[in-house]
C-alpha cells in the first residue's frame, strides 16, 4: 500500500487547526480553581466573600455544593471537587467563574479556606501499614465495578491476583533463583495542550461539551452515569486534540465544568488548566515498586516467575486500578512461563492521582520482567538474546492468562533476531575509560487492555459526485489513525484519497461510535468497522449495478472509481450508481448507498479469580534494542542507537507507523532517563513546571532511531494489521537498563536513570570505576 498524505495536514501546518484551548463562545465565563494547600484535611470553612466582591466575578462554587454527584471510572470515589475533606495538596475545593480569565484567577486567590489538617500518607508502602491514615474512610460504600475489590478500612483500592501453575513450590526446586526490587516514578504525560473543557447547557436540557479528550463516547457514558442523564442528552464535541498519551482517556474535568455551567444557568463555562494546575489537577502516570523473583533450570528455561507489584494511585483510583490489574495480567509478558504468580496491589496515597499512560501497566511490567530476566540470564551465563529466544512465546504456547498464541500472532523470534543484529549484538564495543559502550535488548508484547464488549461502529455515505463521507468514533490525537481510515476506504473503492472525507472532529450525536481511543486499538477496531461498512456499501452498489447490467451480483466488480462487469467492457462511474441509477425514462434502480459496519471480538472473556482468560483482541509482538554510552564519571547515559522491530501484521501507512515508532522511542528514552514528578514529604510537587520536569528537547536525541516492520498478517486485523501506538515504548527503558549493565556491569533498578542516580549506583556497585 502506498502512503497517503495526512488528512489533518493543511489545518495543522497553517495554524488553522483549532483545539478546545482555542475556542470561545459568546457570554462565556472562565473558571479558575481554588486548590487545597494541605495534603489531607477536613474542610472547615470556605469563604468566597472577598472573591465575590471582585469586579468581573459572577460566581464561586464550592465542592460541597456539588457533593451529591460522584464519579470514578472503576470506583466512584470522587466528587467533582473536594467536598468534606481534601485528599491531596492541590485538589480543587472551589471554582471561581468570572467574565475573564485574569479576574477568575485573581479572585481564586481571594477565596479563603480553613482546614483541619489530618496526617497524610505519601509513600505507598506507608499506606499499607496497619494504622496508616485512611485516604478514603468509606471505601466499602462506594459504587464500583464488580471485578475491582477495595479492602475496607485500608488504603487498598484493589488487589489483582494471577495464578498459573504453582510458582511458589517450583521456585523452591529451581536450579537458580534470582530476585530483585524495582521502582518507577510517577510521571506526567506532558501533552502539549493542557486539559481544557467548555460546557454549555441547551434550553432543552441537553448538555453540550467541548473537550480535549481522547474518548468522547467514554466521556459521554461516564457523564451520563454521574449526572443521571441519558446519553442522548449529552453531546460531546472533540476538535483537534493536542496530545493525550492516555492522560485524556476517561472522564476528567468534564463533569466539573458541566456542573459549573449548570450552576450559572447553563451559560458557557471554560476551564483550561495552567501547566502548573495540569501537574496537580490532571492525573499523571502511576508510581510502581515491584519485588520480582524468577526460577530457572540450569539450561536456562524459565520455570517460575513471581512478582509483587505495589501501584501508587494517588488520592483517587481513576484508571490506576485497571493499570495495576493490567500490569498484573501481562504476567511474564512475551515469555512462555508455566508457573506465574502475580499480586498487584493498587493503593491510595495523599498525592495527585494517576490515570492511564501510553503502555497502560504493560510498560511498567516490562521494566520489571525484562530487567529481572536479563539479570537471571547474566547470572546463568547464557547469552541474553539466546535466553530470550529459548523462552519466548511461540505458536501453541499460552500467555500468563492462558490465552493461546497462534501463527497469526506474528514472528517474535524474527523480531528479536533483527533487533539484535541491527544493533550490532555480539560485535566489538569501543569503550575507553571513562566512556563505556553497551548494548541491550528487550522483547515487547502488548494488546489493548479493553473490556471484552468494547466495540466500534463506522458508516459511510456517498455524495452526488461519487465522493464519500466516512465516520468513525476514534479521535485524531496526533497518531494519524484518521489518515489510515481514509486510505483504507480510498483503496477499497480505487478512488483518490481526496474524495474521501472523514470526520476529523467528533460530535457524539453524529459520529459513529467507538468505545475509546486508547490501547492501540483504533486501527484494529475502527479499521475493521470501516471495512465492514465498505463491504456493506459495496454489496448495495453491486445489487444496483447487477440490475443495470442485468447480470448476477457476483459478476460485478468495484475499483478505480468504477463499477463494472468482470471481464467485460461495461462500466459505470461510481457517481452514477451510488445515489441510485436513473434510467433513460426516469425510473430509479436502487436508492442512495449508505454503508454501515461495526466490529467486536466475540470470544474475549473477563479474567477469572486466578487471573485466567482471554483478554486481548490482538497482540503485537516486537523487540527493541539500544546501544548506549555511559560516562561513568558523571553518570550520563547517551543512547547512540535504537532499533525497534515490530510485527505489525500489515503496514497500512508506513510513514505513520514509523512516526509512532520514532515518537514513542523518544518519549520512552525521555522517561527512562529524566522524567519524574518529585514530591516533598508533605505531598507537594517540587517540579510542577516544564523547567524542572524535563521532557526531551530537540537537542537531546539523535537521528539514529531505526524501525523495522514485519508483516505476518493477523487473521482478525483490518487487512491483517495490528496496533503500534503504545508498543513503541514498552521495552525501551529495560533495554537501556540492560545496555548499562552490558557496558559497566552495574544493575539499575529505579526509573528514571538520572545521572546522579547512576553515579550513586556505580559508586555502590563498581567503585573502582570511579577511582581517578
Amino acid at each position: 500500500m502506498t502512503d497517503i498524505e495526512r488528512v489533518d495536514a493543511l489545518d495543522k501546518v497553517t495554524g488553522r487547526a483549532l483545539y478546545v484551548y482555542d475556542l470561545k463562545f459568546p457570554g462565556m465565563l472562565y473558571a479558575a480553581l481554588v486548590k487545597s494547600t494541605v495534603p489531607h484535611g477536613i474542610i472547615k470553612k470556605v469563604d468566597p466573600s472577598r472573591a465575590l466582591a471582585r469586579e468581573g466575578v459572577e460566581a464561586v462554587i464550592t465542592g460541597s455544593q456539588l457533593s451529591h454527584v460522584r464519579a470514578g471510572i472503576y470506583i466512584q470515589d470522587r466528587t467533582p471537587m473536594a467536598a468534606e475533606k481534601v485528599r491531596y495538596l492541590g485538589e480543587p475545593v472551589a471554582a471561581v467563574l468570572a467574565r475573564d480569565l485574569r479576574s477568575a484567577r485573581e479572585a481564586a486567590e481571594m477565596v479563603e479556606v480553613d482546614y483541619h489538617e489530618l496526617s497524610a500518607v505519601v509513600d505507598p508502602r506507608e499506606a499499607l501499614r496497619e494504622g496508616a491514615p485512611l485516604v478514603h474512610e468509606k471505601l466499602q460504600e462506594y459504587h464500583r465495578y464488580q471485578e475491582i475489590k477495595p479492602l475496607p478500612n485500608s488504603n487498598v483500592a484493589n488487589v489483582f491476583r494471577l495464578r498459573k501453575g504453582d510458582a511458589q513450590s517450583i521456585l523452591q526446586r529451581s536450579d537458580l533463583v534470582v530476585e530483585d526490587t524495582y521502582t518507577e516514578a510517577m510521571i506526567s504525560h506532558a501533552y502539549m495542550e493542557p486539559m481544557s473543557v467548555i460546557a454549555w447547557w441547551n434550553p432543552d436540557g441537553t448538555l453540550e461539551l467541548w473537550t480535549s479528550a481522547q474518548s468522547p463516547f467514554a466521556v459521554r457514558n461516564l457523564l451520563s452515569k454521574a449526572l443521571e442523564l441519558s446519553e442522548s442528552r449529552i453531546v460531546v464535541h472533540v476538535p483537534y486534540v493536542g496530545g493525550g498519551f492516555g492522560g485524556k482517556a476517561g472522564l476528567h474535568l468534564e463533569l466539573l465544568v458541566a456542573l459549573l455551567s449548570k450552576a450559572v444557568g447553563g451559560r458557557p463555562v471554560k476551564l483550561t488548566l495552567s501547566r502548573e494546575d495540569n501537574f496537580y489537577v490532571a492525573p499523571s502516570k502511576v508510581g510502581v515498586s515491584a519485588e520480582g523473583k524468577v526460577g530457572l533450570s540450569k539450561e536456562g528455561k524459565i520455570l517460575a516467575l513471581m512478582v509483587n507489584y505495589l501501584v501508587d494511585a494517588g488520592a483517587y483510583a481513576d484508571y490506576a486500578v485497571n493499570v495495576g490489574k493490567t500490569m498484573g495480567y501481562i504476567g511474564a509478558g512475551p515469555y512462555d512461563v508455566p508457573n506465574v504468580w502475580i499480586d498487584s496491589t493498587t493503593v491510595y496515597t495523599n498525592k495527585p492521582f494517576a490515570t492511564a499512560f501510553r503502555g497502560f501497566g504493560i510498560l511498567e511490567a516490562h521494566w520489571v520482567v525484562e530487567r529481572l530476566l536479563e539479570t537471571a540470564s547474566r547470572k546463568l551465563g547464557v547469552d541474553p538474546v539466546q535466553f530470550r529466544l529459548m523462552n519466548r512465546l511461540r505458536p501453541g504456547s499460552t500467555t500468563s492468562t492462558g490465552q493461546r498464541i497462534t501463527e497469526g500472532s506474528g514472528d517474535l523470534a524474527k523480531c528479536l533476531q533483527v533487533a539484535a543484529d541491527m544493533v550490532g549484538w555480539g560485535s566489538r564495543k569501543s569503550s575507553s575509560h571513562p566512556t563505556y559502550v553497551g548494548r541491550g535488548v528487550a522483547l515487547a508484547m502488548k494488546g489493548p487492555s479493553v473490556p471484552p464488549y468494547n466495540s466500534a461502529q463506522a458508516y459511510l455515505k456517498f455524495n452526488e459526485d461519487g465522493t464519500l463521507d466516512v465516520s468513525v468514533g476514534t479521535t485524531e490525537i496526533g497518531q494519524g489513525t484518521m489518515t489510515s481510515i481514509v486510505q483504507l476506504v480510498a483503496e477499497e473503492f480505487g478512488i483518490q484519497p481526496n474524495k474521501v472525507r472523514v470526520d476529523l472532529v467528533k460530535d457524539t450525536s453524529r459520529s459513529a461510535y467507538t468505545w475509546q481511543t486508547v490501547g492501540s486499538r483504533s486501527l484494529f477496531y475502527d479499521g475493521n468497522a470501516v471495512l465492514a461498512a465498505v463491504d456493506d456499501a459495496k454489496s448495495q452498489i453491486r445489487r444496483i449495478a447487477s440490475k443495470v447490467f442485468n447480470v448476477e451480483e457476483e459478476e460485478i466488480s468495484i475499483g478505480g472509481g468504477k463499477v463494472f462487469v468482470k471481464g467485460g467492457s461495461r462500466a459505470l462511474d461510481l457517481k452514477d450508481v451510488v445515489m441510485g441509477y436513473v434510467t433513460a425514462n426516469g425510473n430509479v434502480i436502487g436508492s442512495p448507498v449508505v454503508g454501515r459496519g461495526s466490529f467486536v471480538v466475540p470470544d474475549l472473556t473477563y479474567l477469572d479469580s486466578q487471573g485466567q482468560g482471554n483478554p486481548f483482541p490482538v497482540i503485537t509482538f516486537g523487540a527493541q534494542s539500544v546501544e548506549v554510552e555511559v560516562d561513568v564519571l558523571t553518570g550520563v547515559v547517551k543512547v547512540n542507537k535504537y532499533v525497534g522491530v515490530f510485527d505489525l501484521g500489515r503496514v497500512v501507512n508506513r510513514g505513520l507507523a514509523m512516526d509512532q515508532l520514532v515518537g514513542g522511542a523518544v518519549m520512552a528514552i525521555s522517561l527512562a532517563l529524566n522524567e519524574s514528578i518529585k514530591f516533598d514529604e508533605g505531598g507537594a510537587i517540587l517540579n510542577p513546571n516544564l523547567v524542572d520536569y524535563k521532557v526531551a528537547e530537540i537537542g537531546d536525541v539523535n537521528d539514529n532511531l531505526i524501525g523495522v516492520f514485519l508483516e505476518n498478517p493477523d487473521p482478525k486485523g483490518p487487512r491483517g494489521a495490528r496496533g503500534i501506538g503504545e508498543n513503541a515504548l514498552l521495552g525501551i527503558p529495560a533495554a537501556i537498563g540492560n545496555a548499562i549493565y552490558d557496558a559497566i556491569g552495574v544493575s539499575v533498578r529505579d526509573l528514571p536513570i538520572t545521572p546522579e542516580r547512576l553515579w550513586r549506583e556505580i559508586r555502590a556497585q563498581r567503585p573502582e570505576l570511579l577511582e581517578v
Binding site: 480569565l101 485574569r102 484567577r105 485573581e106 483550561t272 495552567s274 501547566r275 502548573e276 564519571l633 558523571t634 529524566n674 522524567e675 519524574s676 518529585k678 517540587l686 517540579n687 513546571n689 516544564l690 523547567v691 524542572d692 520536569y693 524535563k694 528514571p752 538520572t754 545521572p755 546522579e756 553515579w759 550513586r760 581517578v772
Partner: protein
C-alpha cells in the same frame, strides 16, 4: 495559560528617568525581563513595580582593550558578534550556552550577571575576566569590580536605587574553557569557566556550586585528567560544607561534578 501576578510597569525612556523610578518600594528592574518573568511565574518573585529599561538605549557592544556590554545588549547579540567571538571567545561561548535562541534573543548579558542566581551562565566569565560593573544612581556613576560585586545569594553590590549600565570584561591572553552541566532540569546545575594564562597559572570560576559564585586561583595545574581532578577535588574540599543541595542535585554530586568538569576542561585545553 499561566498569568503573571499584577504589577505596575514603568517604561522610562532615558537613564535619568529610569533612576528616578527606582526610588522607593518593591521595585524590580527588568532588562530582557526573562528571569524576572520566569521567577514570577514560578512564584519566587512577586514585584509591585517593574521598571523596564528597554527604552533607555544602552544597546552598544564596545570593543577596545576591554569588552563593554551595555545594559540592553542581548545574549544573542553578544554570541553573534564577530569581534566578541574572536577576541572574547569565553564571553561569546558562555552567552551561547544560556537557555535557547528564543530566550537569548531577549535576555541580556547584564541581566544574567546582576543578582546572580546559582545557574547564571555568564558569571564565570565575568569573574575570570576581571569584570567591572558600571552603575549609576542618584548620586552619580561608580564602578564595582567583579570581585566585590557578588555580596550574597541572589545579591549583587548595586544599591536598589542604582542601575547597572554596563559590564566590562578585560581582555585576557591564554587558554580558556567553559562548560555547564544539566540533568533533569532546563537550568544548568553548575557552570564552570577556566582560564590558563601565558605563565600557566590557572583560574577557575563556578556558579551553582555554592549559593554564591566562586573564583579560585589554582596556580599551575597538571593538564592530565587524573592530576587535575585530584588537585581540584582537594581545593574544593574547603568549600564542601557550603555546597548547594537542592532539587536539581545533591551537594555530594555537585562537588564531584565540579572536579570532573574542571579537570576535563584543563585536560582539553592542554591538547
Amino acid at each position: 495559560m499561566s498569568l503573571l501576578p499584577n504589577f505596575k510597569l514603568e517604561l522610562p525612556t532615558d537613564l535619568k528617568e529610569a533612576i528616578s523610578e527606582l526610588a522607593g518600594g518593591n521595585v524590580v528592574i527588568a532588562a530582557g525581563a526573562t528571569r524576572v518573568l520566569l521567577m514570577s511565574y514560578m512564584h519566587i518573585l512577586r514585584p509591585e513595580v517593574v521598571v523596564s529599561i528597554r527604552r533607555i538605549g544602552l544597546r552598544e557592544i564596545k570593543v577596545s582593550d576591554e569588552l563593554e556590554v551595555e545594559a540592553n545588549v542581548t545574549l544573542s547579540a553578544v554570541a553573534r558578534n564577530e569581534r566578541v567571538r574572536k577576541e572574547f571567545p569565553l564571553v561569546a561561548a558562555s552567552a551561547s550556552h544560556v537557555a535557547d535562541p528564543l530566550v537569548r534573543n531577549k535576555a541580556t548579558v547584564v541581566g544574567n550577571v546582576v543578582n546572580a542566581v546559582p545557574y547564571s551562565s555568564m558569571v564565570p566569565a565575568f569573574l575570570l575576566m576581571d569584570g567591572k560593573a558600571k552603575v549609576v544612581g542618584p548620586s552619580g556613576p561608580r564602578e564595582i569590580s567583579a570581585k566585590d560585586f557578588f555580596v550574597g545569594p541572589l545579591e549583587t553590590a548595586q544599591r536598589p536605587d542604582e542601575l547597572v549600565t554596563s559590564l566590562t570584561f578585560r581582555r585576557v591572553e591564554g587558554e580558556w574553557g567553559f562548560t555547564e552541566f544539566r540533568t533533569d532540569s532546563q537550568l544548568p546545575i553548575i557552570n564552570v569557566g577556566v582560564l590558563r594564562n601565558k605563565k600557566g597559572k590557572v583560574r577557575v570560576a563556578y556558579t551553582g556550586l555554592t549559593a554564591m559564585p566562586n573564583l579560585l586561583d589554582l596556580g599551575t595545574m597538571p593538564s592530565d585528567f587524573r592530576g587535575g581532578y585530584r588537585e581540584v577535588r582537594n581545593i574544593l574540599q574547603d568549600l564542601s560544607t557550603q555546597v548547594l543541595d537542592d532539587l536539581r542535585s545533591s551537594a555530594e554530586y555537585r562537588l564531584h561534578l565540579a572536579s570532573v568538569l574542571t579537570a576535563r576542561l584543563l585536560e582539553g585545553m592542554g591538547r
